[in-house]
Each structure stands twice: as C-alpha cells, then as structure tokens.
C-alpha cells in the first residue's frame, strides 16, 4: 500500500512541489498541526508577522517583485478575517496569493465554536476561488488546483480553508505533475483576424497612443520587452497606468509619464486627442478615464487583455484581443513586420506632427514645483530619493495617498517589478509589509517604502518583523501631519473643512524606530536632505526616515470632479490662466 500522509504533511508536500521558499503567517489553535509539521521542511522558511494583514501584504510584495505566488498561513476566525483586506487588495490588482486558513474541526462547523467564522463565505467575493476541505481525500488535488488558479490567466488570490481534524487525517498524496494533467487547458486562441485589422489601424494612425497597464507586468519580462519593441517599431508615444509603471523605461523619451487623475498633462491630453488608442493590459479604471462620455472621443480603441470581462466593461472598444499580452504582442509585431516591412522608416514622418503637439504639451511642465530654501517640498524629497538611488537596482513600495502619487510621478522606473503599490483597493498600510516581502524575494537589494505618516501607522507593527529577520528595508515617510489626500480633497471640494484629517499626537518616528531596534533619521530642510538620504541607504538596518515636509502641498496635476482628460488643473502656479482658474472655482 502506498504511504499515507496527514493533511498537514500534504500541505507542506504541495508547497515543496511548487517550490515555495517563504510562507508568511501567524499561528493559532486551528493551524497548530501545520505549525507542528513546519519544522520538518527546512527548505520552506516561515516569516512570523505581527498581524495577519501584514502577512497578506508581505506575500503580495513577494509575489509582485518575484512573479511567484505568495503563500500565507493564518488561523481560523480572526486570523482569516484579518486576511480579508489583503485578499481583496490582491484580487483588485491581480496578484497571485495562496492563503491557507485553519478552520474549527468539521464536527464543530456551524456551532459558533471558538474562533469559528464562515471563512469561505466571507472571502468568496475577494478571491478567484476558495475551498472548504471537508474530506481529506480532496486535499491534495485542491491544493494543486489552488496554485494553478492563482497563477494562471489573470492571476489572483485563492483560499483553502482546512478544518483542524482534516489536518490530522491521512490520505494518499498526489504529485503536482499528476494533478496538472486533470486540469482543463486554459490557453485561448488569439484571433488572427483582429490582429490583421489592428495592424492596419496602426499603419494608418496619425495620432496614436499606447496605454499600457499592470497586465504587461503580470505577463512577464518577455511581455515588457515586447511592449518596448512594439513602441520602438511604431515610434508611438506610450503612457502607463499606476500598476504598469516600469514595464517601459520611465526615463525614455517616448514615455509620456503616468496618465489618469494625477497623470501628466501630456499623457492625458494625448489620450484625449488621439485617433488610435492601444490599451495593452489595462482595464479603463475610473482613475484613468475621468468622465466616461468625454473619454477620448475621437479615437478608435484597441484592447488587449487576458480577462474577457474587462473588454467593453467600461469603455466600448473597436477591436479586442483576449489573450496573454506577451503572446498577442508577439503575434502583432510579426504581422506588422510582415505586412509593412518599411513601416519603421515611413512611420516617423506620418506621426511627426503628433509628436510636435505632444512636445508642446510637454512644455507645460506639469510636474513643476518650486523648492524654497527652508521647508522641504514632498516632491523634492522624492526627486532626491530617486536621484540618489537610480544607479542601483531599487525596489519601491508605497502606502496610499499623496506620497503614493508623488512617488509615481517623480520616481522613474526602468524595469518591471520594481514598483509595488496598492492601486485598485488603495490600501493604506500596504507598503511596509509589502517591503518585507520584496526584501525577502530580493536579498541585498535596496527596498524603500515611500510612506505617509498616517498610512505607516496602520501596519507599523511589521517593523518588528523586519527587525527580527534582519531585513534592511527603508521607510521613507513624507510627513505632513495630514492625511494629505483627504486634506487636499477637503480643500478642493469641501470648502477647506479639514474634518478629521489632521493627526495630533503623532509618535516621534525616530524614537519609534529605535524602540523597535531599527534606525531613525529625520530631515527637516533641503540642505541636509541628501546627506541624510545617503545615511539611510548606507545603513545595514531597517530605517525609518522621517521627512518633515510642507503641510499644505497639493498633488498636481489633477483631473477634477468628473472632468475629461483635457480639463486638468495644473496647480497653484497656473492661476494666471483664466480658463483653468474658472474650472478650479467650480471645485472650491
């Protein structure tokens, strides 16, 4: 008879089969059999977090920066409910996570037992799929399936809820190779006809723009290279969503910067005025489109996406290709090369007027700010951080708010998987635990969490994790004592009624760092900034960098209240421009 394994042994066997290096977790009653088994699997390192939400975001950081699924183990009840935010975050941003949760023993399910909750019920809308494993015989296949579903197609989180008694029961193990044979094939055929039509449109376009998103990064390095190749062949301008930053080099001349609510003037105007929009792996999110019925009124729209439900969800498109971005681009490029061999040469002339227009928009210099000699501007702080770290392979995570947008605007990413931010869900408290996961996946690299003083307090406890595992992450706090984005909206939209957006009694972040066994550094003026940033980079320990900045700075440019891409507010320096002031007045 073949060897029988316990549920707990099967869990680790599957993790080993899928080459899992790290699991992020927190023990508790319903997962004790798993934690008992942990010691026998030296290849798998367990990272003990301080709160289950931290485990989830750390796993996301690991997944986003490595391309491999992040794995989490939490206990039943509060362990599982604490994971809900991280699961939802991963679901919104298409990040592969496998969460294994403990559950009360099967005979107690439904009795309101201690630390019982309907985990699969609660997590159903925030996972790609989830399972409650009541029969040990189902466990091996479900776990393999969990990895398969998390990582294939449009990636996302899955959850496997395992009652404690099932963790003790025994069954026969099924190997990964055997399991995979049973799963249905998921590869879709790329519509050749559509590709031909798209190639024609590309050939004819006079005012084209490439709008790329997180799907390019999710598709992998190859897809990023192909996006760059596609841009080079066509000579088209390219803009990117928040999630897509890094797929195309941020310092390249063809790159117009990020688009959307806090995107650049040139990117948004190009989106509005273009005659051909090529959406590669983005989803027409509401932060991107602004007012829907004024969205890019004159363009033909092409959408390449792996998720059929993304097509025509928000914006009706003229041509759509469902499939993996890398594969579709590969096909498109070969069709272009075959169909129009001289395209690369001839095309430059036909879109030269378009580039002239774009360069005029560029002259507006929508990311301009003035740094005085006393108080630090947040934009300046991030710009200096960029200048002082750009020559090494740096990984940036963020929390959510103004600092996140400034980071997206002023930090130029040249490679994919270097930028980990919570875009869809907008989870404050994401950046610090994410940085932990990033540092584990990228040992020896510089990992910086660009944070706000409000966000960082939401998962502050994870600094303890970073110290325990000697992960020298840097927490760069843009400290304006306000929930800056809330304050900005209150200024622009609610008559400066700064209701509850100011934080009194903030901790002394330098002392807080020291209390955790990390290093605390504070910068308060432009003269000392560079030196202090260097000190932070050189520190072998985790650092909290408390960067005291101008309190009332707003994040510009901005597409305000249900406006279109060509109706941006550029900022306080643009007040002389009557038209924009008028628009601004509507808001205030």
């Amino acid at each position: 008879m073949t060897q029988q394994l316990t549920g707990a042994q099967i869990v680790f066997k599957v993790l080993e089969d899928h080459n899992v290096e790290y699991i992020f977790g927190y023990p508790g009653g319903a997962v004790l059999p798993l934690y008992d088994e942990l010691i026998h699997h030296k290849k798998i390192k367990h990272i003990l977090v301080r709160h289950e939400q931290g485990a989830g975001h750390a796993a996301e950081g690991y997944a986003r920066s490595s391309g491999k699924p992040g794995v989490v183990i939490v206990t039943s009840g509060p362990g599982a409910t604490n994971m809900v935010t991280a699961l939802t975050d991963a679901y919104m941003d298409s990040i592969p996570l496998v969460c294994i949760s403990g559950q009360v023993p099967t005979h107690l399910i439904g009795t309101d037992a201690f630390q019982e909750c309907d985990t699969t019920g609660i997590t159903r809308p925030c996972t790609k799929h989830n399972w409650l494993v009541k029969d040990i015989k189902d466990l091996p296949l479900i776990l393999h399936k969990a990895f398969h579903i998390a990582t294939s197609g449009r990636p996302g989180p899955v959850l496997v809820d395992i009652p404690k008694d099932v963790q003790f029961q025994k069954t026969k193990y099924i190997k990964k190779e055997q399991a995979i044979k049973i799963f249905p094939k998921t590869d879709v055929k790329i519509e050749e006809n559509e590709i031909q039509k798209i190639a024609e449109l590309i050939f004819k376009a006079k005012k084209p723009i490439i709008y790329s998103g997180g799907g390019v990064i999710n598709s992998g390095e190859k897809a990023c290279q192909l996006t760059q190749e596609f841009a080079k062949i066509t000579g088209f301008p390219i803009t990117s969503t928040l999630q897509g930053l890094g797929a195309y080099p941020g310092d390249d001349n063809q790159f117009l910067g990020m688009l959307g609510m806090h995107g650049t003037y040139e990117a948004n105007n190009a989106m509005h005025d273009c005659d051909l929009m090529i959406n590669i792996g983005a989803r027409f999110d509401d932060r991107i489109t602004g007012k829907i019925d004024k969205f890019s009124p004159k363009s033909k729209k092409i959408h390449i996406d792996i998720d059929p439900s993304s097509i025509n969800k928000i914006i009706k498109v003229d041509h759509a290709v469902v499939g993996d971005v890398g594969k579709v681009l590969n096909k498109l490029i070969s069709v272009l090369n075959k169909k129009y061999p001289n395209f690369k040469k001839s095309n430059k002339a036909s879109i030269s007027k378009w580039w002239e227009q774009i360069n005029k928009w560029r002259e507006k210099d929508s990311l301009f700010f003035e740094q005085g000699n006393k108080i630090l501007k947040p934009q300046y702080a991030i710009k200096r951080l960029y200048e002082l770290t750009k020559n090494r392979d740096t990984f940036i995570t963020t929390e959510v708010g103004q600092h996140q947008m400034w980071a997206a605007q002023y930090y130029k990413f040249r490679k994919p998987k270097r930028w980990m931010t919570s875009g869809g869900l907008g989870t404050m408290g994401f950046g610090l635990p994410a940085a932990i996961g990033v540092q584990l996946a990228n040992p020896g690299k510089l990992v910086v969490d660009i944070a706000g003083e409000a966000s960082i307090l939401m998962n502050m406890q994870e600094l303890s994790t970073a110290v325990q595992y000697r992960l020298p992450i840097k927490i760069f706090i843009i400290n304006n004592q306000y929930m800056g984005m809330v304050r900005q909206w209150q200024e622009l939209l609610h008559d400066k009624n700064y209701s509850q957006s100011y934080t009194e009694a903030l901790p002394d972040f330098v002392k807080l760092a020291e209390a955790y066994g990390a290093v605390g550094i504070r910068a308060t003026n432009p003269d000392e900034l560079d030196e202090k940033i260097k000190e932070m980079i050189d520190s072998p320990k985790p650092v909290i960098f408390d960067c005291i900045v101008e309190q009332n700075e707003n994040c510009f440019p901005m597409i305000p209240s249900g406006k279109a891409h060509n109706e941006m507010i550029l900022g306080p320096s643009e007040k002389k421009d009557n038209k924009i002031t008028k628009e601004g007045k509507v808001l205030v």
């Binding site: 699969t120 019920g121 159903r124 809308p125 790609k128 799929h129 409650l132 398969h148 579903i149 294939s152 197609g153 449009r154 249905p184 998921t186 879709v188 055929k189 609510m261 509401d286 489109t289 602004g290 007012k291 829907i292 019925d293 792996i306 998720d307 059929p308 439900s309 097509i311 025509n312 969800k313 009706k316 469902v322 909206w489 939209l493 609610h494 597409i559 305000p560 209240s561 249900g562 509507v586």
Partner: protein
Amino acid sequence: MSKSLSAYSVENKKEKTEKHIMVVWVDNESGVLTRVAGLFSGRGYNIETLAVAQVDDAKHISRITITTEGTNSVVDQIKAQLLKLIPVHKVASFQINNKSILRELALVKIIGNKKNLEKAKKICNSFKTEYLDTTKSSFIVELNSTRSEIDRLIKELKPYGVASIARTGPLIMSKGSEITQINKGKIL
C-alpha cells in the same frame, strides 16, 4: 443638473433595459449557488427569478436559470463575469421572444366557501390546469404555462380566496436543433 462634487464619473446615457434569462451550467458542489447569487448582488445586478436543479447525475452538473433585467451591455458583462467563476461550465443568455420555449410551474391553493370555490374552479377550468388536491373547503391547482398566463390566472382567482401561491420561475430552452455550446475563451 447640478455639478457633481465627486471625482467619480457621473452616470450618463441611459440604455434601454430589457428582461433577459440567463442559463448557467455549473458543477453541483457546495456553495456554487452562493457564488452565482453573490456575483449578482455584489455587482449590483438583479435576480428576479431563480430555478436550479441537477440535470446530469453522472457529471454532477446543475442548470441554473435566472431572470434578470438589464441593458445588453450589462447582460454581456454578467455573462463574462459568470464565466470567470471556476465551477461555471457555460453560460447562455436569452431574450424573451419566439426563438425559445419558456415554461413556469405554479401551484395555487384556494380556501373558501362552496360558492367561491365553484367560481374559482370555473376560472381554473378555462386554463390548462390540473387539480392536485380537493377538499370541501379548499383545492390546489397546478398550472404549467408561461409567466403571463400564470399571472392572469392568479389575478382572476384573487377575489375567491387565494391562500397560497408557489411558483418555480421560468425555465427556458432554445427552439429547434440549436443548443448552447461551451463558451470559447474560458480563462481561469
């Protein structure tokens, strides 16, 4: 219209909404109905009627029939979202027209005095009903017909002591030799 203070886009153009019947073939496993129903409620779609039963005992496939209301683009979106659910095999959407057969089953219990029961029976006899249970003071009648026909029966019976109504919601099947193929492009 007053200017919106929200940065979220304002709802504009109203498309025409129509009744659609969605048919979803799913693995008959625990929680599958919640997944389907939860998708509807979570994304703000409406379920007007719902009928579920296993139709393939060997493969454990259930057929779910849902009546919903929405614009064509909403229905396309529902379809695409349903197809993303792991236990969903295929999805079809039907409009109510002469290309398909629609049937609903209703049970109606009438309680009343002799006079009213007689009047009620007279009405029932003018429909294709079947008596399932008859006592001195009550009867139960079955009608297997279209939704509007059942509506009409119930409306006519109302004055004579309708005590209980049970309806299955419609089932639908396309006419002729056409069947719903596995949807292309099922992506996990």
